[in-house]
């Protein structure tokens, strides 16, 4: 079993592990997700119809409405939030969204997580140390 380690910067502390859900599309909060189920609803999104509930969400960053944080805030209260967030592009939307989701979150990686993590991989996110540990689902 191979594990890969990525190093990044803490956005929100804490530790969580679970299955990865990966997208190369940026995510809209308000109008892009159903916060009660964690489902992506944006019309042309590659993850349309899939839910990030209980997953380690791996994505480029946030886009769209400033309701981003509010939607992820509701998702947490509804029990439909991701358990951790791994992303590349820092914006106010995602920073505040990650803070109010109360889930460990990391950005600023030494290698691009979108190139390394695939949906279904087992991912451990340690927000305090900025370390992401990936166990691949498929052996290369």
């Amino acid at each position: 079993m191979t594990t890969i380690i990525l190093h990044g910067r803490k956005v929100v502390g804490g530790c969580a592990e679970g299955e990865a859900l990966v997208t190369k599309d940026r995510i809209s909060g308000w109008g892009g997700i159903d916060p009660l189920t964690g489902t992506i609803i944006e019309t042309r999104h590659e993850l349309r119809g899939q839910s990030f509930k209980g997953k380690v969400l791996v994505f480029p960053g946030a886009k769209g409405s400033s309701g981003w944080s509010g939607q992820f805030h509701i998702a947490r209260l509804a029990g439909a939030a991701p358990i951790a967030m791994v992303f590349n592009e820092m914006t106010t939307k995602i920073a505040l969204g990650a803070v109010v989701t109360h889930a460990p979150a990391i950005t600023g990686f030494d290698r691009d997580p979108l190139e390394i993590i695939e949906t279904g991989d087992w991912v451990k996110v340690d927000g305090d140390t900025g370390i992401v540990e990936i166990t691949k689902k498929h052996k290369d």
């Binding site: 960053g61 886009k63 509010g70 106010t92 803070v99």
Partner: protein, 418 residues
Amino acid sequence: MFDGKEGPAIQKAMDLLVRYGEALDAERLADTNNVAGTIGATMPFLRSYAAGEQGFDAVFSEFSLDSGEVLAIPPVKVFSSHLQQGFDPAHAEQQGIAPEVVKIYKKGGDYCAKLGVQPLNTCAPYLVGNLPVKGEICAWMESSAVIYINSVLGARTNAEGRESAGAAMLTGKIPYWGYHIDENRLGTHLIELDVDIDSVSEWGLLGYYIGEMVQEQVPVVNSTRQIGNLARLKHFGAAAASSGGVEMYHIVGLTPEAPTVEAAFGRNKPVATFRYGPAERKRIYQSLNSTANDTQVDFVMLGCPHYSIEQIWEAGRLLEGKHIHENSNLWIFTPRAIKQMADQNGLTKIIEDAGAFLMTDTCSALGRVLPKGVKVAAVDSAKQAHYLPAIMGIQAWFGTTADCVQAAVTGRWNGGLK
């Protein structure tokens, strides 16, 4: 404030701002005296908090301060404006809102007054008296307003969220980051135009294109030939902030930080140059109309972002003496203060005599308010065309204001790229 000497609510607000500032890796908090946010509780999920014993303090604590503990919320410390609400209480019946929800709205209005939050109740506070000046540090939500005040007015705000705006209302502080800082306001991408952008809908198509191309970067539109005005730039920015995450743009010769291409880019070199011509225009138009098949239009929605008085006057001229088709509906959205003017000079009457409605406070996508049984909408807003089908599961046509009014009058979509 952080030590709790000003009370637990202020302490929680500072705690949130510090956590948020650390997440951003901001160097410090800045002072602000202009906050635009939302503290209402008309969304279904929030209503149960508002209905509880501790009412709106419970809503503010959780959804504006990220505090599960309910705190007594003091009046705001700095000038604060309320953005959109969930529905228009004067048209609750048309919007399918139950009387008990209208009660929550009224309770929320009283709470705003108690806290000293001004009830502009619009996505476009700059239409009704909140016009920040060049260089003013603001803490605003609402992507279409953020992009407008940064780019057109030269004010300085990031796209805040409900929680950071709420914390800023109580403290007058916000992380100093992003578009507060000179170098982050400089252009990154150059956009060259091969077609004239000469109407509100053309500005919307261009904005939607640019958002797709540059995502959250800072585009510079290189053209001194295009004439912008409030309605055009309002639509342009809203579109760019919907297809991408644009919060700042420059139009050479038009916006305040772009007297020349060189000034707009400063020390940056363009990362890429994109040309917007007939092929791009056609592709964007098709993309905005990709959810629509049925030409029978049962709903037309205008006023995203909220219409200015000029736009209401134009809609009034298109509608005068006409009548909305029996199988269709027309709703126009504007801030309350502007509706008051429309009431005063007879525009509301022209709209209502045609069988349409002039509504305030919300819009169809934000409030999820539609006439009963709607399947196919027509809109003159790229932003609304982007969001409405995803949120409400309906088809949406995008076209000019005249195309939309015609669809409301005939009940059929007859628009198209001209």
